[in-house]
Amino acid sequence: MTRISVRVDGASYDDDVEPRTLLVHYLREQLGKVGTVVGCDTSNCGACTVHLDGEAVKSCTVLAVQADGAEVTTIEGVAGDGSGNGQLHPMQKAFHEMHGLQCGYCTPGMIMASLDLVKENPDPSEDEVREGIEGNLCRCTGYQNIVRAVQQAAAEMRGSDGNGNGHVAPAEVDTAAAPHVVGQA
């Protein structure tokens, strides 16, 4: 057993862990942070993505001991002031507004990866979003509404004046709410 000290979603923890324990298993099983989920064994799906000292990592490829002394943010700590309670983060809100989720299993990881993407690129184009989240798999949505959500959140996060760098402002993106009905029999 190895002693680690971590801060997770604003609270401090001192715990003994087996050296082989993965961060995701530490979060889920020892801390009860079950908002972060496991989707594969090979770091392909990204469902377990969290932030480690502000960087997105797949928590199934990080050992808990590697998080010693670090600050971890999970989906449960994104809203409000970091406590997870209170107002939704713009990224969470945009996933809701743009119907960027169906079953929701990939959503925590998708949101954490998208936050990292927008931090690096505050005004991503559709192609840049698609490339930026290619490490996260979603089986339900076909990604189109996830892309819309990330662009919408990016706009809100950089201030909603709509002065993007020439990309279509998400507010003008086909909002997904208008099927192209041509006749009602």
Binding site: G39, L101, C103, G104, L137, V147, A178, V182, G183
Partner: protein, 832 residues
């Protein structure tokens, strides 16, 4: 792109919820991580299971020694096949498609023989999941190899090796639908004999894996002689009945709960071996147990989909009038028959004629056993295969006739003024307009411009060629009329149940027997009830997925939830209003006949200012101080809806595809589709379902295939090798709708869950072929990997088998369980 649904003739009044793009109620917990996935569950004293699985595809178990497992730290117990043989029964198969169908039985854990890689041979119970998994490799099990049966065409040949050596052959059943014999069409052989043109093709529907994102997970808690099972399942109600029948636990002593479930796509429409094993072991130990699979376990042992060889013949005259269709299938069952394994290809039998007016049709299917994991439902289940076959062969016929593929379709499809139309397969298509949907799709794609560009690229000999693929499709949804299921020998009905509980504060609980796992029932059902009862959307709570709360139900699959389950909700709401009307008449001192009900309020006709809200009535009847004699003090109601017909969504899907003739790389340039799914309750959810379906249908065409090597090892056992597409692998979709409401249900909905998945696959393959047909290519086998496309262009044929283990092109990775297993037959996998 901008047209929105316009409702003509609307009267002033409250805004209707149906048709509104309501944001989903479900999202609140899903975007904050406050979810209840089965694997999140922790119970006091809970033990963890790990399954020891067969590393070989076909063998007799000659020796089992688990004594070292028992001694391992943290291990509480270990069970082998012989420990559970007496009580495990057989996993159920609910669809004996013919009376003669051979079902070898399906043990949850192998006793003396294993028939596919990954079959359970022992179960370890330990204090922690890691302790259980650590002990797996301590199990000492000897296998005596048997010949491995993998190829269906070889498996049905005379003298073939047998999967089940106590059976006479590898054929489970021979299912025939002959329109001539059924009286729904003319004689097929005669039609072919008389035809000017016959085109025949052998098409391959590769094996796919549903690959839901949430791995399967089961928790069982015994409480005295009662058991509660939480499972990541699509079918808590069916699972309860079946688990009771298999284990002998009385049905009323078993409660099944599907909490938050992370996708299914048919893959969780199953009674899984591990669900039964958890129940048996919890009963033995009297302790709660949990099993959660790894992704490799999921890909290797959860049921697969598709895997058919299709021999398709189409007959026509020189002018392109269709004369007949003949389909013969070999359908891979895998090693056993699971819940609806044999029924999947049979369900497709009725859809091969598609939207066309064939005078003659014959369908035959052999269900074939192989040493692979069983196949079963995967999004579309039988209908994608049928749609692929007909839409591919229509293109081949067009080429043969020198006709435009769209013109050939138009010449033969059912016209808008011909609905309802009974097809040669005996189905009564309800409503639609194929021409309008097609016109809209052509505009959405920019068809004419792309055709012109295609011409330019062809003439200039551009290395990147462009093709346009067409798929005009329909499907049968809203499963299903119970009597029809009975006539097809299915083991259950197709009704759905709902109950509405009016709470004293006027809030409404809706209990549905349909079980969501991403479809947004909580939102859409709230919209239905808000409109029916005239209560605020926010005042409705939808309860589901727990057999103790939702006592009756047939769950979610086959695009049935809104069509059948939603209709039950509407019918229940009608009953609530009828009961409330009696109370209202009593309290308003008026005749029932003089009451109007609108926007949630009863009012006396011609007496403005009077009125009593249904939410007020809920409180009044809770108090029950003043209500009419002779009726019960409740306005709660329930309803069961059994549809009289299927519903038939249709649509036109168009794909423009670039093919690099030097590298074989294909890229979707543009994808446009117009679907008619009947009345749209929530356009946001409808569009999302179409997007998701498209992603899976395109993935079949371009990326996904479950590959077995010559020994029967799954070489696509991780997400490294099984290529579920990422955002970067898929295009933007341009989607649209026409609306012809379904006459068969009170909502007018047709179902949308499977449309995109069914329609898109042939559009994509037709597009690729259209791009390179002038280079002599007539077929490319799915998935259209660069290697196959290149080979088809430069070497001829269909591009051939996919490279498997031994070639790094597709990983050829081995899973933990298959490591080190090889035989002389490992020609493809020899040099891992």
């Amino acid at each position: 792109m901008t047209a929105v649904e316009e409702r003509t003739g609307t009267t002033p009044g409250p805004e209707k919820e149906i048709g509104k793009a309501r944001r989903r109620k479900e999202d609140a917990r899903l975007i904050t991580g406050k979810t209840t996935w089965t694997d999140n569950m922790v119970l006091p004293g809970m033990l963890h299971l790990a399954v020891v699985r067969s590393p070989v595809a076909h063998a007799r178990i000659t020796h089992v020694d688990v004594s070292a497992v028992r001694e391992a730290p943290g291990v509480i117990a270990v069970f082998t096949g012989s420990d559970l043989a007496e009580e495990q029964g057989s996993l159920p198969c609910a669809w004996p498609v013919t009376p003669e169908m051979v079902n070898p039985g399906h043990p949850s854990i192998a006793v003396d023989q294993v028939n596919h890689v990954g079959e359970a041979v022992a179960v370890i119970v330990a204090r922690s999941k890691t302790a259980a998994q650590d002990a797996v490799e301590l199990a000492d099990i000897d296998y005596e190899p048997l010949p491995v049966v993998l190829d269906m065409e070889e498996a049905v040949a005379d003298g073939a090796d047998l999967v089940h050596d106590h059976l006479e052959s590898n054929t489970s059943y021979h299912f025939v639908f002959d329109a001539g014999e059924m009286g729904t069409g003319s004689d097929t052989d005669q039609a072919f004999a008389d035809a000017d043109v016959v085109v025949s093709r052998r098409l391959i529907q590769q094996r796919l894996i549903p690959a839901f994102m949430e791995p399967r997970s089961v928790v069982v808690q015994p409480q005295g002689d009662n058991y509660t099972m939480w499972s990541a399942t699509q079918i808590p109600h069916i699972l309860r009945v079946m688990a009771a029948m298999v284990t002998g636990i009385p049905e009323h002593k078993l409660r099944v709960v599907a909490p938050d479930v992370g996708g299914g796509f048919g893959g969780k429409l199953q009674v899984n071996p591990e669900e039964i094993l958890c129940l048996l072991i919890a009963r033995r130990l009297g302790k709660p147990v949990k099993w959660t699979e790894t992704r490799s376990e999921s890909l290797m042992t959860a049921h697969h989909g598709r895997d058919q060889i299709q021999y398709v013949d189409i007959a026509a005259d020189r002018e392109g009038n269709l004369k007949g269709l003949r389909v013969r299938l070999l359908a891979d069952m895998g090693a056993y028959l699971r819940l609806i394994t044999p029924g999947v290809p049979a369900l497709g039998a009725f859809m091969y004629p598609g939207i066309y007016k064939f005078p003659a049709y014959r369908f035959e299917c052999d269900g074939v056993f192989t040493n692979k994991v069983p196949t079963d439902a995967y999004r579309g289940a039988g209908r994608p295969e049928a749609t692929f076959a007909i839409e591919r062969i229509m293109d081949e016929l067009a080429v043969e006739l020198g006709m435009d593929p769209l013109e050939l379709r138009r010449k033969n499809w059912i016209n808008a003024d011909e609905f309802p139309f009974t097809t040669v397969a005996g189905l009564a298509y309800d409503s639609g307009d194929y021409e309008t949907a097609t016109q809209q799709a052509l505009e959405l794609l920019g068809y004419d411009e792309l055709r012109a560009e295609q011409q330019r690229r062809r003439e200039s000999g551009d290395r990147v060629q462009l093709g346009i693929g067409i798929s005009t499709f329909t499907e049968m949804c809203g499963l299903a009329p119970s009597r029809v299921l009975g006539s097809l020998s299915f083991g259950a009905g197709g009704w759905e149940h709902a109950a509405i509980r009016m709470l004293p504060t006027g809030k409404v609980e809706v209990v549905t027997g349909s079980t969501p796992h991403g479809q947004g029932h909580e939102t859409a059902w709230s919209q239905l009830v808000a409109d029916s009862l005239g209560v605020p959307f926010e005042d409705v709570e939808v309860l589901h997925g727990d057999t103790a709360i939702s006592s009756r139900g047939l769950d979610t699959y086959g695009s049935r939830s809104l069509v059948v389950g939603g209709s039950a909700v509407v019918k229940a709401a009608d009953k609530v209003i009828a009961k409330a009307r009696k109370i209202a008449a009593h309290l308003l001192e008026a005749s029932e006949d003089d009451l109007d009900f609108e926007a949630g309020k009863f009012s006396v006709r011609g007496t403005p200012g009077t009125g009593l809200g249904i939410q007020e009535i809920a409180l009044a009847i809770f108090a029950a101080h003043n209500y009419p004699e002779g009726i019960e003090p409740s306005i709660d109601a329930e309803a069961t809806f059994d549809p009289e017909n299927f519903s038939f969504p249709h649509g036109t899907h168009l794909c423009a595809m670039e093919v690099d003739t030097e590298t074989g790389f294909v890229k979707i340039r543009k994808y446009a589709c117009v679907d008619d799914v009947g009345t749209i309750v929530n356009p946001l959810i409808v569009e999302g379902q179409v997007h998701g379906g498209l992603a899976q249908g395109i993935a079949q065409a371009l990326y996904e295939e479950a590959v077995y090597d010559a020994d029967g090892n799954l070489t696509t056992g991780t997400f490294v090798d099984y290529l579920v597409p990422s955002a970067n692998d898929l295009p933007h979709f341009d989607t649209g709708n026409t609306v012809h409401s379904a006459p068969g249900n009170p909502i007018g909905a047709k179902g949308v869950g499977e449309a995109g998945c069914i329609a898109s696959t042939p559009a994509v393959v037709n597009a690729a072929l259209d791009a390179v047909r002038h280079l002599g290519v007539t077929d490319i086998r799915m998935p259209l990997t660069p290697e196959r496309v290149w080979r088809a262009i430069h070497r001829g044929g269909d591009g051939g088998d996919r490279a498997t283990a031994g070639s790094n092109a597709y990983g050829g990775a081995q899973t933990e369980t298959t490591a080190g297993v090889s035989t002389d037959a490992s020609s493809l996998g020899g040099d891992r």
